[in-house]
C-alpha cells in the first residue's frame, strides 16, 4: 500500500481526517472525499469521536477505499472489548484497510449518549500488542489463527501541558513504537516552538511523527479550545488575526496551511482536522503544498 511505502520513504505525509456522517446519507462525505483524491496520502477515519454516535469508522473507511483513497482506521477502546477489537481488526485486514490505530476514546459524558456503558477493556498500548499478536498468528487467548493478518500500526500521542508531561508523552510514544507503531499522531499544534521542543524530546523514535493541524473555524472556537483542551494555547496574535480578517474562513485556512508548512521542519507529516469543514481541506492542501 502506498501509505506504508510513504512511511518508509520519510517524505512529508499529508493526512486528512474525515468524520463519517450521523446517518446514511453519504453525499457530502463522498463529495468531500472525491476532492481529496491525489492530494493526501491517507484519510484518517475517527471512530465515534467525541463519543457521538455516527456511521462506524470501518464502514466509512471502506467507502473511502472504494473511492480510491487510502485510509487509517481508528479504533476506540471505549466501545469494544478485546473480542470485538480483535474481530474488527481481522475485519479491517480482509476489507483491505491495513492502516490502523487506537484511541482511548473521549468520555461518554462529553458525547450525545452519555448514559452508555464504557468498555475500556484494552488500552491503546494493549491494542498494539493485540494487533501485533494477530500478525504473528495468535489471538490474545493464545490461540492460533487460521491465516494471520498484517497491519501498518499507528498510535496517538496525548496532549502535554509542560516539559514534564511532554517527556512522559514522548516516553509513551517511544513505547508505542517498540510495540509496533510505525506512525505517531501528535495532538493539534498551535505553537511551532512548543511542538519543536516535543519533537526534540522524542528524538528519532523510528516512527513517522505527524503533527495535527486543527482548523480554527472561529474566534469562539479558539477561545473554547484555550479554556477546555489540555495543552492548547492559541496565542492572542492568531486570535486577533482571525477576528480582524474580512474573510474569516479563508484566514482560518491560511493559518492552518502556514502551520502545515511550519511543521515540515520538525516532523514527517501533518494530519489536517477540519471538524465539519471538510470542504475546506483542498484549499488548505493547496496553500500548504505551494
Amino acid at each position: 500500500m502506498a501509505f506504508a511505502k510513504k512511511l518508509k520513504s520519510k517524505d512529508f505525509c499529508y493526512l486528512a481526517e474525515m468524520e463519517t456522517p450521523k446517518g446514511v446519507d453519504l453525499s457530502a462525505f463522498v463529495n468531500n472525499a472525491d476532492r481529496l483524491k491525489g492530494r493526501v496520502d491517507a484519510v484518517l477515519v475517527p471512530d465515534l469521536s467525541h463519543a457521538v454516535m455516527r456511521l462506524s469508522a470501518l464502514a466509512g473507511a471502506l467507502m473511502l477505499k472504494d473511492l480510491g483513497l487510502e485510509t487509517i482506521v481508528s479504533f476506540s477502546c471505549r466501545d469494544r472489548n478485546r473480542l470485538a477489537m480483535q474481530g474488527d481488526l481481522l475485519a479491517a485486514h480482509v476489507l483491505g484497510l491495513p492502516n490502523v490505530m487506537a484511541t482511548e476514546g473521549e468520555a461518554l459524558e462529553l458525547g450525545d449518549q452519555p448514559g452508555a456503558k464504557a468498555v475500556q477493556d484494552l488500552s491503546p498500548a494493549e491494542f498494539l500488542a493485540a494487533a501485533k499478536g494477530l500478525c504473528d498468528g495468535r489471538d490474545m487467548g493464545g490461540r492460533e489463527l487460521q491465516g494471520p493478518p498484517s497491519f501498518v500500526l499507528g498510535a496517538a500521542i496525548g496532549p502535554w501541558t509542560d516539559a514534564a508531561s511532554a517527556a512522559s508523552r514522548a516516553a509513551e510514544a517511544r513505547q508505542a513504537v517498540e510495540m509496533g507503531a510505525s506512525f505517531l499522531i501528535a495532538p493539534p499544534v498551535f505553537s511551532l516552538p512548543d511542538f519543536a521542543a516535543f519533537a526534540q524530546e522524542l528524538g528519532d523514535s523510528g516512527a513517522m511523527l505527524m503533527g495535527s493541524v486543527l482548523l480554527l473555524k472561529s474566534v469562539g472556537m479558539a477561545r473554547y479550545l484555550n479554556e477546555n483542551m489540555p495543552g492548547v494555547n492559541v496565542d492572542e496574535d492568531t486570535i486577533r488575526r482571525l477576528r480582524g480578517a474580512s474573510d474569516r474562513p479563508a484566514e482560518a485556512v491560511k493559518i492552518a496551511a502556514e502551520t502545515v508548512q511550519g511543521l515540515k521542519e520538525y516532523c514527517n507529516g501533518a494530519l489536517l482536522v477540519t471538524a465539519g469543514w471538510e470542504d475546506r481541506l483542498p484549499d488548505i492542501l493547496e496553500l500548504a503544498t505551494r
Partner: protein, 222 residues
C-alpha cells in the same frame, strides 16, 4: 458489606521484601465480619509473616494494630504519632482503607494484604455472595428485590437470556439465573406485571461509567 479475601502468602511475602519493620493494620468493620482482615486475621498473618521472614533468614519486625475503621480519617489519624517508626503499613482493610491511609500519610508505603472482592451478603456460615454492584440507581423495587446488575452474569435488564436453563446460568450450574429468581419472586409477590414491562436501557452514568463518584451532603458539612 464489602467482602475481601487474604492475598496468597507468596505474594504477601514478596510485597514486604524491602521492609524490615512494618505495621500490620486491620480494620474492625466489613473485613472483620467476612474474616479477612480483622483483629484475628491480623494476628494470624502477623505470625505467618514473622515465621516466613525468619525462614528466609531475614527477620522482620511486625507490629499489629486494628483500627475501628480504616476508611474514616478520624480513626486513621491515631496513627500520626507512631507511623514514622515503620518502613511500611501493611493494610488488611479493603481498598477504601488502604487508600485512606495512603492519602493521609503520603510518604509511607502502604501495601494491600487482601483482595477486595465485592459488596455482598452472607448466605451461610463461611459463604458470602455478591448482592450489589453499586450502580447508583437501584431497581430492586421493580425486580422483586433481586439485582440484575449484581446477580445476572450479563447484567441484562430484560432477562432471562437464552443461556438460562432450569433456573441456572449458562456460565455454571452453581450459579442461579438472576432472572429466574426475579420471576419466581415477582410471582410470589403477585407482581408479574412488572416483568412484562420492558425496562429502558440503563443510564450508566450513576455507575462507575460516569467516572469516579462522590456523595456530597452539604447539610452535614461542619
Amino acid at each position: 458489606m464489602i467482602t475481601a479475601t487474604r492475598k496468597p502468602m507468596e505474594e504477601i511475602l514478596k510485597s514486604v521484601e524491602p521492609f524490615s519493620k512494618i505495621l500490620l493494620l486491620g480494620c474492625n468493620e466489613c473485613v472483620t465480619v467476612c474474616h479477612a482482615g480483622g483483629r484475628k486475621e491480623v494476628a494470624l498473618l502477623g505470625a505467618a509473616l514473622r515465621l516466613g521472614r525468619l525462614q528466609k533468614g531475614l527477620p522482620m519486625e511486625v507490629e499489629e494494630l486494628t483500627l475501628e475503621r480504616q476508611c474514616d480519617p478520624e480513626y486513621v489519624e491515631e496513627l500520626s504519632r507512631t507511623i514514622d517508626q515503620y518502613d511500611a503499613v501493611c493494610s488488611m482493610a479493603c481498598g477504601c482503607g488502604v487508600q485512606t491511609i495512603a492519602e493521609r500519610y503520603p510518604s509511607m508505603p502502604v501495601m494491600p494484604m487482601v483482595n477486595t472482592a465485592f459488596m455482598g451478603a452472607s448466605e451461610s456460615h463461611g459463604v458470602w455472595a455478591e448482592r450489589c454492584a453499586g450502580c447508583g440507581d437501584c431497581v430492586l423495587g421493580y425486580t422483586g428485590g433481586i439485582c440484575p446488575v449484581a446477580r445476572c452474569s450479563k447484567r441484562i435488564f430484560n432477562g432471562p437470556c437464552g443461556g438460562s436453563t432450569k433456573g441456572k446460568c449458562e456460565i455454571s450450574n452453581d450459579v442461579d439465573c438472576a432472572w429466574q429468581l426475579i420471576w419466581d419472586r415477582l410471582k410470589e409477590l403477585g407482581q408479574t406485571e412488572l416483568y412484562s414491562k420492558l425496562m429502558e436501557p440503563k443510564d450508566w452514568r450513576t455507575a462507575r461509567d460516569g467516572g469516579p463518584r462522590r456523595i456530597v451532603r452539604e447539610d452535614m458539612a461542619l
